[in-house]
């Protein structure tokens, strides 16, 4: 440890949706790196250790270093001159940056979508159709005596979910920790989460909806045929046992992952699970929570919702927000070749989108804001290298249970914050749109202004 070391208490890890805010970070201020992250899981340790200051330009146009001002000008011109500009990503940046991105989309009459659309977007649709019996993770910790994980593998994707929130922590009404809880895991493969569970249920792939619907029937006292095992791979006695446990627990929780949303059935799978939680409230207290992936994907849902009225897949081309998943969601705007310019913030669709969507993305001008080089930044027309939220910048993020948390940065970055760049683009697109409006003989600023304050 060098002399120029700083310790940051109660810092927040923004790698995954657990957003654990009990980190103790040891920071080498000379080297500008975090040397130790006490309390972090394996993913958090990698997050803190690997986000150092890389030797790279803060802004580039077509791979050539430029000033940030030049890059902002080019980004604004590109967006304003596009007929169908899209904004995408947002789950790994602060709420403050997210609101600027919404404002930009509003001003340029563009399209805004977040990584939610390829994550728990189907659950978002199911919430609108079925509703959500919800709680904070604090309530789970203090009260839950039956914890069911469905279609997820927290041991690898959210390692501290078990220890900090839902399985082993001792709570007000669960003083014995894990001894006071029954943990059930439902998944099509036996993952590293299985050893944590008391009961492991392995349905056939693609049969989650059938299992959930059978459980709903059993909860309501209906008879289920023995051949349910042939259909789903799960014996009737297993379903009956789980039904008894669900109806007779004090506080039950269904945590669900992308095993439901990314498979055939999508929002119907999530909806079936939410409906099961609702049904169970006739007998006991039961809640359902999606286990969210990126550090501030929940913030993205909240910010886009409170600014537009919809959580993702929003289009402003008519001057007011419209929501239409399947049309205004990014896989669709790209695969259908609608988008003709893309502002990608803290996301890498060129790496993980379907091939057809990636092929179109590579044919249109891309503007990126990212902390590292990715497949998407490699192809960017305008690329900004930005500071890492939570490590270099403060701001607000939402934990997966919609609890907002303020970030405590560890050390300064020479790169600008996402919010700063987006404010710059927002200011410039507003000027350019106003000039366009006036050139057409229009008057007043109101038609090209966003209500979001700069």
């Amino acid at each position: 440890m060098t002399e120029n070391t700083r310790i940051v208490e109660n810092a927040t890890c923004t790698f995954c949706g657990c957003v654990c805010d009990d980190m103790q970070l040891h920071v080498d201020l000379d080297e500008k790196r975090i040397t130790k992250a006490k309390n972090a899981c394996i993913l958090g340790r990698a997050w803190f250790a690997e986000h150092t200051i890389e030797d790279a330009p803060a802004a580039m146009i077509d791979g050539k270093e430029v000033t940030i001002e030049e890059a902002i000008e080019e980004a604004a011109q590109t967006l304003v001159n596009a007929k169908f500009p899209i904004t995408y990503g947002l789950s790994d940046t602060t709420c403050e940056a997210q609101r600027q991105a919404v404002a930009i989309s509003d001003i340029i009459k563009g399209n805004i979508d977040t990584t939610t659309s390829v994550c728990h977007g189907p659950s978002g649709l199911a919430f609108q159709g079925v509703g959500e019996s919800t709680s904070t993770l604090g309530e789970v910790k203090n009260r839950a005596d039956l914890v069911i994980y469905w279609g997820g593998n927290p041991a690898e994707s959210h390692p501290r979910h078990f220890g900090r929130y839902a399985v082993t922590p001792k709570g007000m009404f669960t003083p014995g920790g894990k001894k006071d809880r029954t943990v059930v895991l439902v998944d099509v493969r036996k993952t590293k989460s299985a050893p944590v569970s008391d009961i492991f249920i392995m349905p056939k792939p693609g049969k989650d909806f059938e299992v959930l619907w059978a459980l709903r029937a059993l909860v309501k006292g209906k008879k289920i045929s023995d051949d349910i095992e042939e259909t789903t791979g799960v014996p009737l006695e297993t379903l009956e046992d789980l039904t008894d446990r669900m109806k007779n627990c004090r506080f039950g929780v269904l945590f669900f992952g992308m095993g439901l949303t990314m498979t055939r059935g999508r929002h119907f799978n999530s909806g079936a699970l939410l409906a099961l939680a609702t049904d169970l409230n006739e007998f006991t207290h039961f809640v359902a929570k999606p286990v969210r992936g990126h550090g501030n994907v929940t913030g993205a849902d909240n910010v886009v919702s409170w600014q537009t009225g919809y959580p993702f897949g929003v289009n402003f081309s008519r001057g007011y927000p419209r929501f239409n998943p399947g049309e205004f969601t990014t896989v669709d705007t790209l695969s259908n070749a609608d988008a003709d310019a893309a502002l990608i913030i803290a996301s890498d669709p060129a790496s993980n989108f379907p091939k057809k969507a990636i092929d179109h993305l590579k044919n249109i001008p891309i503007i990126t804001l990212d902390t590292k080089q990715t497949d998407t930044t490699k192809d960017a027309h305008v690329a900004f290298r930005t500071a890492t939220y939570g490590i270099n910048t403060t701001g607000t993020v939402y934990r997966m249970d919609d609890v907002p948390i303020t970030l405590r940065p560890a050390f300064e970055s020479p790169f600008p914050e996402d919010e700063t760049i987006l404010k710059g683009i927002r200011k410039r697109v507003q000027e350019l749109m106003l000039a366009k409006h006036q050139a057409r003989g229009g008057g007043g600023e109101a038609k090209v202004a966003s209500t979001t304050p700069l």
Partner: protein, 115 residues
């Protein structure tokens, strides 16, 4: 020999740690190119750990290396791969009006790559 199987892309710890190092770095590329496969299926197809296999469907194809998982952990006919550029090559773009492409439970054909 070609067989039809179900491919489930998902997250893994190694994928999570290596993406922090960098998505263009060797470690991430290796993690997202490693396919987990039921050992009984591997034996039937004449595969051993580290062999290359071609995965293909009507969308595209990709070549990855396979590694064995016990039959009680990964059912016969089911494949797992950490998300990444190789799995994207096989993902259909149709979202059925939901915004979500079918990213898990993808039907693929698998065959050994003979070098």
């Amino acid at each position: 020999m070609t067989e039809k199987m179900i491919l489930i892309p998902g997250r893994s710890s190694k994928q999570g740690t290596s993406l922090n190092v960098g998505k263009l770095k060797e470690e991430y590329i290796e993690v997202t190119s490693t396919l987990e496969m039921n050992t009984d299926d591997m034996e039937r197809l004449g595969l051993v750990d580290g062999d290359q296999v071609k995965l293909s469907n009507e969308i595209g194809e990709t070549i990855v290396r396979c590694t064995g998982k016990k039959p009680e952990d990964l059912p016969a006919g089911t494949l797992f791969i950490p998300y990444g550029p190789p799995s994207s090559q096989l993902m259909a773009s149709d979202t059925a009006g939901s915004g979500m492409p079918l990213s898990k439970h993808m039907e693929v054909e698998i065959e050994k790559v003979v070098s």
